[in-house]
């Protein structure tokens, strides 16, 4: 069902204009929405969160011109409504043939293991850490340097030194980590693509 998005430029313009008259702000709302929808599809255990996110934007974009004139309320809720319909459609389709039992993260499928070795992950992690500004790199490594009780004390000390609360520190680190994870994922995809073409 899901497929890669093929927006017509004017549809995309309508979509952005509906999100916000300021194009720059509309762009950041679009990216934020995209990220949120990806998460929601993943939480709902949809097999292709990216494809379903594209499908959501496609469906909304087709109506964006009319929605600009007629829809009242927060556009984000409209996106959610479309996404939720997609989740329901997806569930109906998979109901009959998927069992969740016995799935362990350590029990990777052979294909996954073959494509994505520990070495490749380390290589990408190293590359992506290098891309981070030094301040951010030092912060994220310090943040994850301890575990359990030592971790709590260590993070409280980090927050004190930075003059922020532990919660603010957590949010800041979360943002860096998400960026780092995205970079590593892209890097792994590239490595796998190169491997396929070799």
């Amino acid at each position: 069902m899901p497929r890669k998005s093929e927006f017509l430029p004017e549809r995309f313009d309508d979509l952005l204009a509906w999100l916000n008259p300021d194009r720059e702000l509309a762009g950041s709302i679009y990216l934020d929405l995209r990220h949120s929808l990806l998460r929601i599809f993943a939480w709902n255990r949809c097999s292709d969160p990216e494809g379903m996110t594209d499908e959501t934007f496609d469906r909304v974009a087709r109506q964006a011109h009319t929605l600009r004139e007629t829809y009242e309320g927060n556009p984000r809720l409209f996106f959610y409504g479309v996404a939720n319909n997609l989740i329901k459609e997806y569930r109906k389709k998979i109901k009959s043939h998927v069992s969740l039992e016995g799935v362990e993260p350590t029990q990777d499928a052979p294909q996954e293991l073959e494509e994505e070795t520990v070495e490749r992950r380390r290589e990408c992690l190293g590359k992506c850490l290098e891309k981070l500004p030094k301040e951010k790199r030092d912060l994220i490594l310090a943040y994850y340097a301890r575990e359990k009780q030592a971790k709590i004390i260590h993070r409280a000390e980090m927050a004190r030194k930075l003059g922020i609360s532990v919660e603010t520190l957590r949010v800041r680190m979360l943002r860096i980590r998400i960026g780092l994870e995205n970079c590593i994922e892209l890097c792994l995809d590239e490595l796998m693509e190169n491997n396929e073409t070799d």
Binding site: P21, S28, R45, Y80, E104, I164
Partner: protein, 287 residues
């Protein structure tokens, strides 16, 4: 559910799949429209992943976690990446700790040598005396620098107050650059906005987008350069309507900002003077 605020406990139940369908939809709606709720959920997820990797989840939580996060290949990959990051960080920390132990070894080597070879006394005494003289000179210079820094700080504070006075904000001076900055929660994982002032530019106006629904009589901004120790507090700022957004304008002296990553924390101040939940804004000053 509609009226309940999003807490980490609720978020964790949701992430572990322990909510019914109507609660799931309510939470997902909040995730989409409410930046604070979104942040709470993402932080709760981050904690769950960490706890899972440390083996700190209970048996039932682990089962719920695996059902949610081990199902889809991309989720499994995210988990493996998270594990790689923590393992790398811990390995780096262990490596960094080794110079400390090397210093301890050096200290014990010096003390054992002292007991054995008293003839080293004179050169050591000379070295200590030299060190004392150098330290004294350095302290005097440091104190002078501190006085200069303090004077500079007072000057910047005065300039910030003047630039952000309501009467100044009504005017648009020439040689002013503007930068629209969404809050960290709204901007999400994208790079912080950047601006590079030229020698002729005198003022940078940050237009901080205020994502919270409630408006406050005034706002306080705390500005700091990431990695630096100083911070500047600018009080009595106000939100203005711009298109569909609430914007708090903050003006900075362009030539006083060293290149680097900056963070501004903006807090609403209630009519009784109590601060509310702050929003964070990051931006980069280019060289």
């Amino acid at each position: 559910m509609n009226e309940k605020p999003m807490t980490k406990a609720v978020a964790k139940r949701f992430l572990l799949g322990a909510v019914d369908d109507s609660e799931r939809q309510q939470i997902e709606k909040l995730f989409i429209i409410d930046p604070e709720a979104k942040e709470t959920i993402l932080v709760a997820e981050d904690e769950l992943v960490e706890d899972y990797l440390e083996g700190s989840l209970s048996e039932s939580e682990t089962a719920g976690f695996l059902e949610q996060y081990a199902y889809e290949p991309r989720q499994r990959r995210k988990l493996r990446i998270a594990r790689s990051i923590t393992e790398y960080a811990r390995a780096e920390a262990l490596r960094d700790e080794s110079p400390g132990s090397a210093l301890q070894k050096l200290g014990s080597f010096v003390s054992s040598s002292w007991q054995g070879k008293r003839s080293w006394f004179i050169p050591i005494a000379v070295a200590v005396a030299t060190l004392l003289i150098v330290t004294t000179v350095w302290l005097v210079q440091w104190n002078n620098r501190r006085t200069e820094d303090n004077n500079l700080r007072v000057a910047i504070e005065r300039e910030l107050t003047e630039l952000n006075a309501p009467s100044s904000l009504r005017e648009n001076p020439p040689q002013m650059l503007s930068l629209v900055i969404p809050s960290v929660s709204l901007r999400n994982v994208n790079s912080p906005p950047a601006i590079s002032p030229q020698a002729a530019d005198r003022v940078i106006e940050l237009q901080l987008l205020w994502p919270q629904k409630e408006e406050s009589p005034s706002y306080v901004a705390v500005l700091r350069r990431v990695g630096g120790s100083e911070e500047f507090r600018i009080a009595n700022l106000h939100a203005e309507k711009k298109a569909n957004d609430n914007v708090v304008r903050l003006r900075l002296p362009a030539q006083s900002l060293a290149p680097g990553l900056y963070n501004a924390s903006l807090s609403p101040i209630g009519s009784d003077g109590t601060p509310g939940s702050a929003e964070e804004y990051d931006f980069v000053i280019g060289g």
